[in-house]
Symmetry: C2
Subunit: 161 residues, 2 copies
């Protein structure tokens, strides 16, 4: 199944994966969050073929996650900036970073500093409604307003079982 097919599933995670799951896309986003906006900078840092980087940036532009801005007119050169939609992916990257720092590296290659308190830190998810910390014990899924008829029927069957 091609990864694009995930975009047809009625699931916000699957649809997000439909493009984040493309190899390199998250690392291109990492570069943009690190402030590397020019094609050559990103290419050098990532060690990626230019056609692959072009393709990923095109997808991100089509998705409205990245915009291209001219920084030189003679010759015409562009830099890439995250849109609001793109910047709002920061929590996804911070969550991957927090987990990876704990389980995948001996010591963090990059520290994230919270400018307001000045400390190296990691992101912890909190509730948008009450501000309390979210843990695996206090988060419960339930069918939402966008659940399909099939999803509702499956839930009924599970409850009856």
């Amino acid at each position: 199944m091609p990864i694009e097919a995930f975009s047809n599933q009625n699931c916000a995670i699957a649809r997000t994966l439909a493009f984040l799951g493309e190899r390199w896309t998250v690392l291109v986003l990492r570069e943009l969050f690190l402030g590397r906006r020019r094609f050559e900078e990103m290419q050098e840092e990532l060690g990626i073929a230019s056609n692959v980087l072009s393709a990923r940036l095109s997808t991100l532009r089509e998705e409205g996650i990245v915009e291209r801005h001219p920084y030189s007119t003679h010759p015409g050169r562009y830099e890439y900036r995250l849109t609001e939609k793109g910047r709002e992916l920061q929590p996804v990257l911070l969550a991957m970073l927090a987990w990876g720092d704990r389980y995948k590296v001996d010591a963090p290659p990059i520290d994230t500093v919270h400018a307001d308190c000045g400390h190296a830190m990691h992101a912890v998810p909190h509730c948008s409604r009450c501000g309390g910390e979210l843990t695996t014990r206090n988060v419960r899924p339930r069918l939402g307003p966008g659940a399909s008829a099939a999803q509702r029927a499956a839930e009924e069957r599970r409850r009856a079982a």
Copy 2:
């Protein structure tokens, strides 16, 4: 470049991607977080070939993210449970869900409820040190203790430029 090669990069995000980026892996995790622990349940829900689901569960077991527990001995049947390392991926899925709910679906197919306050909510990243909310304006990257010599040299060049 095969996705496994990301695990060689000195980057916590790249190494996390090395297995999360495998197609289906995040959706298998979604199933486990939703409490679907049996092979047949997950397979039915995901509409995935059994060899693909087997392969993803094997990788997750090798990574120490999932454990297999017997729930029947005659015949021998197993269910799959998240380990602590696996449960700690919840912030990654919650972050994808929050973004996808905003940008990828008309209405959330699944609501996440914070049991402590009882409301449907989304996850917001907060600082592990001071508890303040993290935004794209108050998070700064800097070289961490695990940065390689090459990463330090590149940072020096960027500062001098």
